[in-house]
Amino acid sequence: MDGRAVGTAWLPISMSERLGVRKTYKLFVGGAFPRSESGRSYPVHGSDGQLLAYAAQASRKDLRDAIVAARRAVPGWSGATAYNRGQVLYRVAELLEGRAAQFTAEVAAAEGVSSERAAEIVEAAIDRWVWYAGWSDKLAQVAGAANPVAGPYFNFSVPEPTGVVCMLAPPESSLLGLVSVVAPVIVTGNTAVVVASEPYPLPAVTLAEVLATSDVPPGVVNVLTGRVTELAPVAASHRDVNAIDLTGAPDADRAALERAAAGNLKRVYHGDEEWEEPPGTGRLLATVEVKTVWHPVGI
């Protein structure tokens, strides 16, 4: 059994049977799947200690490249209509559903839960994605306002995407947690660079494959696998990142990361959700800016 990748484990070892084709797990940057420019990878083990695969170990340079790709994608994605973003994200959920069996196997292997439990997690992740997709054309109505100012002015406020958001995905929840940090960021028009769960990175790469084959434009979501302690400080101090989500940061690093984020006054979000619980609007609101527009009223 040693050395076999997930998804091939059910195959009997027999010279008469076909040999499985394993997957190379790579990064997802700007719509492409490069290896790390550093040439590094790290072994990923299942809960039983079995080697599942080698994941790319992203370097600081890979992170900076991903941020460039995310920045490039901002005008198109933030400029898309809310209806369009909602449809694109719903399409992602459709593709997730089609790959449910693969995600179930990967989540089970990574998190060491039963197949039944993994299937529940995958279903919850897909439902979570659908829930967030529906927010695309509703958040402005909930978080925006028409403001009755004391003068002859039309005045309204709307939430707008803050720009490029870096997220440290929760280490313990390889798919549901990942989906819960990615979807609320991009549905409002932000673009994202997400550092996947370090111990369980493989479902994130498969999610990237789903994103790549849906209608999400290149660069809107970039997925890196690697060492959080290596990548997080770069994300926190990067001048072209507008917000950082420290959900997956080690507790001991949080203060330093927040201090680094103060260098360009990034918006900082600390998540500590129970992933199974229904999310509120907190994550949606954490990466939007409220813009208020005035215009005189007259003839």
């Binding site: 403001n147 002015y153 984020a261 813009k291």
Partner: protein, 491 residues
């Protein structure tokens, strides 16, 4: 006035007509020789007894000595605020909190002229502005947020949104009373108690507001006012018992505060600097645009974080706009802030005057062309003439750095895309202006400008119902409106 002679008289002699002085009376204000800190409902000296002088920037005349709060005073004020929060304010029904805020709003209106004169004396801003903008808006803020105090469960933050606790609030010198109102009103409405630190150079209206709180019967400790300098503010934002920090001021200090509270549970909102673009398209209503440019950068001597300090004018109309702008600037009256005809008052401090002078010198050195109208500056006090730089490029310091003075940098553009690119070419993102008669272009620009407030065919309008705050390095969080409540609730 129908005759040709009459018309000629108006044109030829207008410049020669002198305005008679029209000073507002100072008698409405009585300034004490010395002021204590307002802690736990009482005025008392700083624990170590130190004081400093606040001066009238228009004359350099000392107005009063105020107490310099030290660490012990910060601790005492936060402790008093904590006690008031736990024992009184948090438990009080919102409808009762509302009535205190309504009382304060009414008393501000009753004593409006007194506040306006005191503000102009201590800050140097024209009485026309303190009387017509600062004080009425401050009262309006209390009035607006008073009405939220008993409606929080309907504000969209869940069925029972909770206050944060003790708010430490540090405010700047450009709108001393108004900024105090922006900070205190939403905090108190949401059920927090406050420790307010007014700016070192403009403490007097905050102390008068403290007296109003006392006279309104506000329970001791609900509002505390600590006067002092940067050290006092730094001690306040680092005080462990502070649950919420609200700061308005420079981006530099805002970053220091964000770094200082990193890793602590304190919630922070920051309203910081700006370098706003005021974009004038070729089809703009020119006369209105000129007024908007003038109020955009010369309102409050340009001591405005959202000032329209970069004029982006479409190349095809640049000459016309600049010609009319210069003619308009020649009519501005600079001088005694208490004179009701004054348009441009005093620069708030020598330190700020030095900063403006330094940046203007950089504009000269980097090759921009400087122009000011003929303008006599008073012999004493801190003054700077309205100034326009043309031939400014994006790399010039005067196009990148916040000057916080009556200095306009003019750049040109050819296409709407270029205007947006130049407008957004800044780490700030507080505000922007757009002037055009074409509605679709206004909305197109408004969507693309990376700024928290966009004024279209108007500029520098404020209202308690209207959220205000920045993108990027202009800070985070909003003040005003329903959004302003979120900054003071556990949401």
């Amino acid at each position: 006035m129908t005759s040709k002679a009459g018309a000629d008289l108006t044109v030829t002699d207008a410049m020669a007509w002198e305005y008679a002085p029209a000073p507002e009376s100072r008698d409405v204000v009585s300034i004490a020789a010395e002021y204590g800190l307002f802690v736990d409902g009482e005025f008392r000296p700083a624990a170590d007894g130190t004081t400093f002088a606040t001066v009238n920037p228009a004359t350099e005349e000392p107005l009063a000595r105020v107490s310099d709060a030290g660490t012990a005073d910060v601790e005492a004020a936060v402790k008093a605020a904590r006690r008031a929060y736990k024992q009184v304010w948090r438990r009080m029904p919102g409808s009762e909190r509302a009535k205190y805020l309504y009382r304060i709003a009414r008393m501000l209106q009753e004593r409006a002229r007194e506040f306006a004169v005191l503000e102009s004396l201590d800050n140097g801003k024209p009485i026309r502005e303190s009387r017509d903008v600062d004080v009425p808006l401050a009262a309006a803020h209390f009035f607006y947020y008073a009405g939220w105090a008993d409606k929080l469960e309907h504000a969209g933050f869940g069925p029972a949104p909770r206050p944060l606790g003790v708010a430490g609030q540090v405010i700047p010198w450009n709108f001393p009373l108004l900024m105090a109102a922006w900070k205190l009103a939403p905090a108190l409405a949401a059920g927090n108690t406050c420790v307010l630190k007014p700016a070192e150079t403009t403490p007097l209206t905050a102390l008068l507001l403290a007296q109003v709180c006392q006279q309104a019967g506000l329970p001791p400790g609900v509002v505390n006012v600590l006067t002092g300098g940067g050290d006092t503010g730094a001690a306040l934002v680092r005080q462990p018992g502070v649950n919420k920090i609200a700061f308005t001021g420079s981006t530099e200090v805002g970053k220091q505060i964000a770094a200082a509270v990193a890793g602590t549970p304190a919630k922070v909102t920051l309203e910081l600097g700006g370098k706003a673009a005021n974009i004038v398209f070729d089809d703009a209503p020119v006369e209105q645009a000129i007024e908007g440019i003038v109020s955009g950068i010369f309102f409050n001597q340009g001591h405005v974080c959202c000032a329209g300090s970069r004029l982006l004018v479409q190349e095809s109309v640049a000459d016309i706009v600049l010609d009319r702008l210069r003619r308009r600037l020649a009519t501005l009256r600079l001088g005694d802030p208490l004179d009701k005809n004054t348009d441009i008052g005093a620069i708030n401090s020598r330190q700020q005057l030095d900063k403006i002078t330094d940046l203007v010198a950089s504009g000269d050195a980097e090759g921009a062309e400087r122009w000011s109208p003929p303008c006599e500056l008073p012999d004493r006090g801190f003054w700077f003439p309205p100034t326009v730089f043309t031939g400014v490029s994006q790399s010039h310091r005067i196009a990148r750095e916040e000057i916080f003075g009556p200095v306009l940098s003019v750049l040109t553009f050819r296409t709407p895309e270029e205007a947006i690119a130049k407008a957004n070419n800044t780490p700030y993102g507080l505000s922007a202006g757009v002037w055009t008669e074409k509605g679709s272009r206004i909305l197109w620009c408004a969507q693309r400008l990376r700024a928290g407030v966009v004024w279209a065919n108007t500029y520098n309008r404020f209202d308690p119902a209207s959220p205000f705050g920045g993108y990027q390095e202009s800070g985070h969080g909003r003040e005003g409106g329903r959004h302003g409540l979120a900054a003071y609730l556990d949401v």
